[in-house]
């Protein structure tokens, strides 16, 4: 699910097609899925670091990072520059194992997240979250380029048995 | 030598010889500046350009430079002037020749070690030298040097550069 137009679509498309992905659907959202799949699955980059590629911090922030982080983010940006998604977007990517939400790095689109017990809510508007969960434990507006990651905790899910998946929320993104 | 560090802090004209291309535009613009009409074509046409440039270009082969009065701190020309025409202004430090006082005895030409004072025989025989274009933002020779060989800066003369 994606809200916005990707200005870097041409570059992203070429990047993923270099790794065998075929962009056939006539929507730019398609490339985000492939990017995610390429980086997370094929390139085995930890999901908590993907935002450093898709919405890489600005150089002026990178310059101010401590040495190790700078080296890391710089290398990511050198190698995966073509994977940077430029242009306004707020995306939610999910599968059975996780839900991942991300805003473009200069926050040209809204994104709100909230949590109640082990439920994680993500939306463009706060109102729609309130509709579903009137009083969440915590509600926040992630910064540009700051992901919201919910990883389904296999053990907990088994006990409930009611098909609901509880979310282990301690998997924070790599803060740099 | 006359170039003792002057009491007066002033901007002077300095040259980087290696960039003087011997085009002599400095001479031309100096003549125009000191002509009556101050318009280049009119000055050259009507004043038969016997207006002397106050800057002098010397050239041999590819070595060339423009040289003009250094407005020395201890100016020998001021000492040698018998009529009081040659004076160094206490505040601006500029050495100028008062055309009404100068009698054309050429003592200043006799003592100036740079040889940058010339005999102006067009009117009433007076010494002609650089007046640092005091009424201009920057001297016209500096302004019109196409290669920025001439600079108009304040430099601490006794610091060894």
């Amino acid at each position: 699910m994606h809200n916005g137009e990707i200005s870097s679509y041409g570059t992203n498309k070429r990047f993923v097609s270099g790794f065998g992905y075929e962009c056939t659907l006539s929507t730019d959202t398609e490339v985000i899925a492939y990017l995610f799949d390429l980086i997370a699955r094929k390139q085995k980059i930890d999901i908590r670091m993907i935002h450093l590629i898709l919405a890489s911090p600005l150089w002026q922030e990178i310059e101010r990072m401590p040495r190790d982080n700078k080296e890391l983010v710089k290398a990511l940006r050198i190698l995966y520059g073509s994977a940077l998604i430029n242009g306004p977007f707020s995306i939610i990517v999910g599968n059975t194992g996780f839900m991942y939400a991300l805003n473009d790095r200069i926050k040209l689109r809204p994104l709100v997240a909230a949590r109640k017990n082990d439920y994680l809510f993500v939306s463009s508007e706060e109102a729609s979250i309130r509709k579903v969960c009137p009083s969440p434990d915590i509600l926040w507006h992630p910064d540009g380029g700051e992901p919201v990651i919910g990883i389904v905790n296999k053990k907990v899910a088994g006990k409930k048995g009611d098909g609901t998946r509880s979310v282990k929320l301690d998997d924070q993104p790599v803060k740099v | 030598m006359p170039e003792r560090p002057g009491e007066v802090k002033m901007k002077k004209i300095y040259i980087q010889e290696e960039y003087c291309i011997g085009c002599r535009l400095c001479e031309i613009y100096c003549q125009v500046k000191h002509s009556k009409s101050k318009k280049i074509i009119k000055a050259y046409r009507e004043e038969l350009i016997d207006v002397l440039p106050r800057v002098l270009v010397e050239e041999i082969g590819y070595n060339s430079f423009a040289i003009q009065c250094r407005h020395c701190a201890d100016a020998p020309c001021v000492a040698a002037c018998i009529s009081g025409a040659m004076q160094k202004n206490k505040n601006t430090g500029v050495v100028t020749c008062d055309e009404d006082k100068c009698v054309g005895c050429w003592s200043c030409i006799m003592v100036c070690p740079y040889g940058v004072i010339r005999r102006d025989l067009s009117g009433k025989k007076i010494a002609s030298k650089c007046d640092l274009c005091v009424d201009e933002e920057i001297p016209v020779c500096v302004k019109n040097c196409p290669n920025e060989a001439l600079k108009f800066i304040e430099k601490d003369e006794n610091e060894k550069n």
Binding site: - | M1, I15, I67, I82, D100, W106, M110, C112, Y114, K160
Partner: protein, 465 residues
């Protein structure tokens, strides 16, 4: 009046009879000293004494006054404002009779005495008046004296020197009253030629009577003098060389003619005596102040007596070419010496770096400049060398005298462009062996100079000079 009130105000503590700085002489050296004293000592009392009645005037400009190109106002090189701004007490018509170096005081002709803490003698030079036999003009007319000398020459109409402004004024009046077609000048040296320059400009012919074999013999060689003599003769004026005046004829108190030592008799209504100048030291007695031709001074312009200084045409400072003290009576050195004297009198330690002879004179539109030791034909040492460039048609002559590859003398006639470059080379004793062949070129310039000295002149680095 305003000036004197200001002086009494600021030195009441000190013995106000004693003047801090007294300067004898109101010309180049004297006023240069006054100015440099004031630069260091803002409050000290400065008194300048002048035996003449004019505010101040520049001696070399006398001939320009004669021709009228300069009037009485314009002849002074420092205006009244100069004295006021520098708070200088100028006393004209104050001729010094004697200086007592023990009591550090001097007496003026009117008998008054002035005590001083520091004295500068800048009394300049006096014209030399040779003794010439005098006689009536043939008709046996009695003449009250048998010879013309320095004491009585002023009493004879038509005889004058051209050393002071008063001389020039008298000559100008004399010429107005008597129509004089030809003026005789005794002495073809610097002053004689300057006088000649003036009279020729005024359209009056001249006779120059010169003891040596050429005019400007002190500084010009035969070729250089030849150009000037040619030009003078071409204007109908005459030059009598190897000659002098044997006898002067006086008629009714005025000069009417003279006889040369080769016997020729000349008719003459005006004779200008210009044989030379000697330092004006007559008023210094007691022998404490060492005097050779001029007053001997060290490189601070101090005489042999402490707190007594001398500068200008009266002094004898270092001649950097002869490496000894020599009386060089020229304006630029007077100003430099005065400035050094004043600086030291006021507690500074400026040094006088020495000087050498130089002169610029223009005769009938031929400018000429001579510097240093130019006449060496007779005492030619082995390591001396002369470069010449002579173009009689264009009246251009250039002579450079070199001693162990340093320039010590220059004569420029006709083309004096950039002459000062040679002055710089002489003063800084620059070795020119590397650029010998360029030195005497017609369009000689800085670009022809030895690399280091050229760099110094053009961009200020190179050598420290």
């Amino acid at each position: 009046m305003k000036k004197t009130k200001m002086i009494r105000k600021n030195n009441t503590k000190k013995n106000n009879k004693l003047i801090d700085y007294v300067i004898i002489g109101n010309s180049a050296a004297g006023l240069a000293a006054a100015e440099s004293i004031r630069e260091l000592d803002k409050t000290g009392k400065i008194t300048v004494l002048s035996e003449e009645e004019h505010l101040n005037y520049s001696k070399p400009m006398i001939t320009y006054f004669l021709t009228g190109s300069v009037d009485l106002k314009r002849i002074s090189f420092k205006d009244r404002e100069f004295y006021r701004v520098n708070n200088i007490d100028i006393r004209i018509n104050t001729r010094v009779k004697s200086v007592d170096t023990d009591k550090m005081s001097l007496t003026v002709e009117d008998g008054s005495r002035i005590g001083f803490r520091k004295l500068l003698i800048a009394s300049g030079g006096k014209p030399i008046i040779p003794r010439i036999r005098a006689a009536g003009a043939g008709s046996g007319e009695a003449v009250s004296f048998n010879a013309v000398d320095s004491m009585n020459y002023k009493k004879i109409g038509g005889i004058s020197t051209l050393a002071t402004l008063r001389d020039a004024i008298r000559i100008k009046d004399y010429l107005k009253k008597n129509s004089v077609k030809r003026i005789s000048i005794l002495g073809g040296g610097l002053i004689g030629l300057k006088a000649a320059e003036a009279f020729l400009d005024m359209g009056i012919d001249i006779n120059i009577i010169e003891l040596a074999d050429r005019v400007l013999s002190a500084t010009f060689d035969r070729q250089a003098s030849g150009i000037i003599e040619e030009k003078i003769k071409s204007r109908g004026s005459k030059i009598y060389k190897n000659n002098t005046i044997e006898e002067v004829y006086i008629t009714k108190g005025n000069i009417s003619g003279y006889r040369l030592n080769d016997g020729r008799k000349m008719e003459c209504r005006l004779l200008v005596i210009a044989v030379g100048v000697i330092p004006n030291t007559g008023f210094i007695y007691g022998g404490k102040v060492k005097i050779k031709r001029g007053i001997l001074v060290d490189d601070r312009m101090q005489t042999s007596v402490k707190n007594i200084y001398a500068a200008g045409d009266v002094a004898e400072g270092l001649d950097i070419l002869l490496k000894e003290n020599k009386n060089i009576a020229i304006w630029p050195l007077a100003v430099m010496q005065g400035a050094v004297a004043g600086n030291n009198m006021a507690g500074g330690n400026k040094k006088y770096s020495g000087g050498f002879f130089m002169n610029s004179v223009e005769i009938l539109q031929i400018p000429s400049i001579s510097m240093g030791l130019t006449v060496i034909e007779d005492k030619r040492e082995k390591d001396m060398e002369v470069l010449k460039d002579f173009n009689p048609v264009k009246h251009i002559y250039k002579k450079i005298v070199i001693r162990n590859s340093r320039i010590i003398g220059v004569i420029l006639v006709g083309n004096i462009e950039r002459a000062g470059i040679y002055a710089g080379l002489i003063r800084n004793e620059i070795d020119i062996s590397s650029v010998r062949e360029n030195i005497s070129r017609e369009n000689f310039g800085i670009i022809h100079l030895p690399a280091d000295y050229k760099k110094h002149l053009v961009v200020g680095e190179g050598i420290e000079v």
